[in-house]
């Protein structure tokens, strides 16, 4: 057997979207995904004139966990990184996709990807999973922070599938 990594190849078997409109016009799978995020540990980001700070709670349920192996804060490139609230396994997938997006951009344009571009493309990936056949939305919201070439500090949040640029964006469990 072999497993393809092509999203469209796998979703051919489910040619209908699992995320559909309710009679009131809501996309309930996305609302439920946000509930999954709310159940996760909190993460916070703060931007100032001179920098950005991301923080995330890393509470392990018992001493049996080796918490040096748990990474809630991931580097995408040397100049940007991200953290999350919600489902860990989904976050790992998005980290891999973000890293690939950044490298593809670098290959094409020979410069570090601006954070706004990265966030745009990553949000697009997340949107595809609310649209394509046979997949569920990601149960994560992301906080992405970085420094662009012109040393402009950039900080974005992908919450509820929408991008918000922010000076200060606080995000708690109850949100």
């Amino acid at each position: 057997y072999y497993i393809t990594n092509n999203l469209s190849a796998m979703s051919e078997r489910y040619s209908f979207s699992l995320t559909t409109f309710s009679p009131s016009g809501k996309l309930v799978q996305i609302e439920y995904a946000i509930a999954a995020v709310a159940a996760g540990a909190p993460s916070i980001g703060i931007k100032s004139k001179t920098g950005v700070v991301l923080a995330a709670e890393k509470k392990t349920k018992s001493i049996l966990y080796d918490d040096t192996t748990i990474t809630k804060m991931e580097m995408i490139t040397k100049h940007c990184g991200m953290t999350y609230s919600g489902m860990g396994p989904d976050f790992r997938l998005l980290v891999r996709k973000a890293r690939k997006i950044a490298q593809q951009y670098y290959l094409q344009f020979d410069e570090e990807i601006p954070v706004s571009q990265l966030v745009q493309r990553l949000a697009n990936v997340m949107q595809e999973y609310t649209h394509s056949g046979g997949v569920r939305p990601f149960g994560v919201s992301l906080l992405v922070a970085g420094l662009t070439r012109t040393h402009h500090i950039s900080y974005s949040a992908i919450l509820r599938g929408r991008i918000s640029l922010g000076k200060l964006l606080q995000w708690e469990r109850t949100m």
Partner: protein, 247 residues
Amino acid sequence: MSRGGSSAGFDRSITIFSPEGRLYQVEYAFKAINQSGLTSIGVRGKDSACVITQRKIPDKLVDEETVSHIYRVTKHAGCVMTGMIADSDMQVSRARYEAADYKYHYGYEMPPDMISKRLADIGQSYTQIAHMRPLGCCLIMIGWDEEKGAQLYRVDPAGFFCGFRACSAGTKQTESNNYLEKKIKKNSMMNESEVIQTAIAALSSVLAADFKPSEVEIALVSDRDPVFRKLTETEIDEQLNILSERD
């Protein structure tokens, strides 16, 4: 196919979100692990790691030499599988394939944490893409890494994986974790024999039974001998004797 837009009862049969944000199929997969009725435990010390699991021969007609839940994946890493046996076989096959492919592409052996991460990522895709269900099995991997020494990792059906000082899987998972927490609190830097003794004592305690050497399987890696290997029945017998003498 029109379904009116709500989850319309599908949230229990494929991996889409329920109204509370849960994935029922993943939760049911966890329950499936207990179907086998077996428990496995992994312990990591200062320079060694071991896994232990019950060995029940389902039928007198089965050739007991062929019954094993401990599998070698690479020269220095292997795992114990707990849960549905067919799903376990599939996950081990995939682990072996991924490790061999890694060696082919990169020229060095796939470290245990990378193997675990790859299997966890594959497991995550089963929770997100509707065409395949999550696997009803839990993988506890031990391995020896050149840079980090002895390692213990656990991969579950949700696609979550993590390094552990000690962990367990299967029917008596909760009791076993409680026992292990107490032991690790006292001493998290065990030597090789303490690691094996703790694993045996934990399993023995939660199952409230003394074992015969043929009723358990143990596998080990250590700085002293970094090759992943299963203990022979004689060695298991020795360890059981040491434990009973201690008591």
